[in-house]
Amino acid sequence: MLSYALRRLVTTIPTLFVIITVAFFMMRLAPGGPFDSDRALPPEIEQNILAAYDLDKPLVEQYLLYLGRILVADFGPSLKIRDFSVGELIAAGAPASMELGFSAILLALLFGVTLGTLAALRQNSATDFSVMSVSMIGIAVPNFVMAPLLSLVIGVYLDLLPTSGWGGGDLRYKILPIVALALPQIAYVARLTRGSMVEVLHSNFVRTARAKGLRERLVVVRHALKGAIMPVVSYLGPATAAVMTGSVVIETIFGVPGIGTYFVNAALNRDYPLVLGVVIVYAVLIMLLNLLVDLLYAVLDPKVRYS
């Protein structure tokens, strides 16, 4: 398994290379540049600015220079946010984004699996029906609708929690964005869990466990859950990607100082190095988490063997 993990790690390198290349050239093919403004700069000054950032060199040379700097984890300077390097900006924004994302995934697993199991245990009951309808709402109402609604009802009408900002990391500011980000995932995980739990509860080994006279709690938690959780584990990869993209919107709506906010602004401002940096960070995260999920799968499911 270790050799499998290592091999997978090695294959992420060409993938990352493709991502960097595509992102780099796509940004540069765009009309408009980072220093376009309504007031035209004198040509000499513009030339100097471009030279300062190596933007006057041929595109291929810039690309090679960029690759060389990436190797030593230098993302270059931000073109728009003066005096900050992309590395510093990402380091400043990442903690908030990570906290949002991981809390959302954790919530999704906790509530999704619990609700799904409850629904499956009381199949076709009122509990089942209400969990499934609520989760359908969670899937059909996108988070950019849910988020403003949450902040309107809880933040404005009921005045319980602040509607935006990060408050320097105060917990009260984090609740709404995390909940808004987690809701669709909770819904999805609940549906997945219910589906596979219903199937597993009808299987022979569960019947055996019950026949042995195990308490229902043990049957469900020890035996059934282990089988039923597999689809949820394999959904973790796509879930991470969904949470990361979702966090771009959630950060914008709630004014969270994370890297998602940077990404949108940087793309609109043609801040090439910042866009590339954020894309690379997200890509690496997604790939690492996918690897982790695959390994977790092998640990949980004895039928899966990686050689």
């Binding site: 060409p14 992102a23 950019f144 894309v279």
Partner: protein
């Protein structure tokens, strides 16, 4: 379907019944599913409203009433859903938004369908090294943060509605390719494919005439689930300000405008959100219904 009955002479006789095809069965099962039928009706209503939008209201979608900005629903002036920030009728704008959202949903899904089905069928049918390489490419593409590329694409090439179709279609074909490949591999071992080979039919013809029609079931199910996905993604882009351009609108744009003023004009958020959510609901229910109808497992 072959059925054995005892004849009047006491001997077993084989009678032939008129067989019901998979599709007839599926249709019957789908129409027994109340949620799916209700969803079909709702979608049809929204589609008809969108098509006949200009006939349904006295207002044009881009007509600005300077004296009626951010008016709540007002029946005297036929602003059934109120007006927006610059005094345009919200009802008509939502229906024009429906046109954009539904068109994006259908066209982008078609793009993904064409790419995904062809790619998957070719990979599954040819097998071997070609299959290996083609699916490896899909694996690599899967691990890309696609949304970010779509956002970059929109920024780079401007807010072009045709680009939205193509970009979203190009993003959504991966799962389709995987499903079709899996189906193709199981279909290609069947006798009728062998017969076609023996009859000297070319590979291309076998793929398009014999393989693809036989993998359509799961493809249709997945397609119904892709449409809401695409509509959602388009709204997401519009919400970020990367969608269609003014004065044209889409549900995502309307929701984004509504979200900004929800404290003073909640109807501007409420009505487009209801339309979007209802549509997504309906497509999801139809997809679930189709899956149940076409799944041979619980026949």
């Amino acid at each position: 379907m072959i059925h054995t009955t005892a004849g009047s002479d006491g001997l077993a006789r084989v009678e032939e019944f008129e067989g019901r095809s998979l599709w007839q069965n599926a249709r019957a099962r789908l129409f027994r599913n109340k949620a799916a039928v209700a969803s079909l009706v709702i979608l049809a209503v929204i589609a008809v409203l969108a098509v006949f939008a200009p006939l349904l209201s006295p207002h044009a979608y881009d007509e600005i009433y300077w004296d009626r900005m951010q008016q709540p629903p007002d029946f005297a002036n036929a602003h059934w859903f109120g007006t927006d920030n610059v005094g345009r009728d919200l009802f008509v704008r939502i229906l024009y938004g429906a046109r954009v959202s539904l068109a994006v949903g259908l066209l982008a899904t078609t793009v993904s369908l064409v790419i995904g089905v062809t790619y998957g069928a070719v990979a599954g049918f040819l097998g071997g090294v070609v299959d290996n390489i083609m699916m490896r490419i899909v694996d690599v593409l899967y691990s890309l943060p696609f949304m970010f590329f779509v956002i970059m694409l929109m920024v780079v090439f401007g807010r072009n509605i045709f680009l939205i179709f193509v970009a979203l279609g190009a993003v959504e074909w991966l799962t389709m390719a995987r499903i079709v490949r899996g189906q193709t591999i199981s279909v290609k071992r069947k006798e009728f494919i062998e017969a076609a080979h023996a009859g000297g039919v070319s590979n291309t013809k076998i793929i398009f005439r014999h393989v693809i029609p036989n993998v359509l079931g799961p493809v249709i199910v997945y397609m119904t689930l892709t449409i809401p996905q695409v509509i959602l993604t388009e709204s997401f882009l519009s919400f970020l300000g990367l969608g269609v351009q003014e004065p044209l609108t889409s549900w995502g744009v309307l929701i984004s405008e509504g979200a900004k003023v929800m404290e003073f004009a909640p109807w501007m958020l409420f009505f487009p959100a209801v339309f979007l959510a209802t549509t997504l609901f309906a497509f999801n229910f139809i997809g679930d219904g189709l899956r149940d109808a076409l799944d041979p497992k619980d026949r």
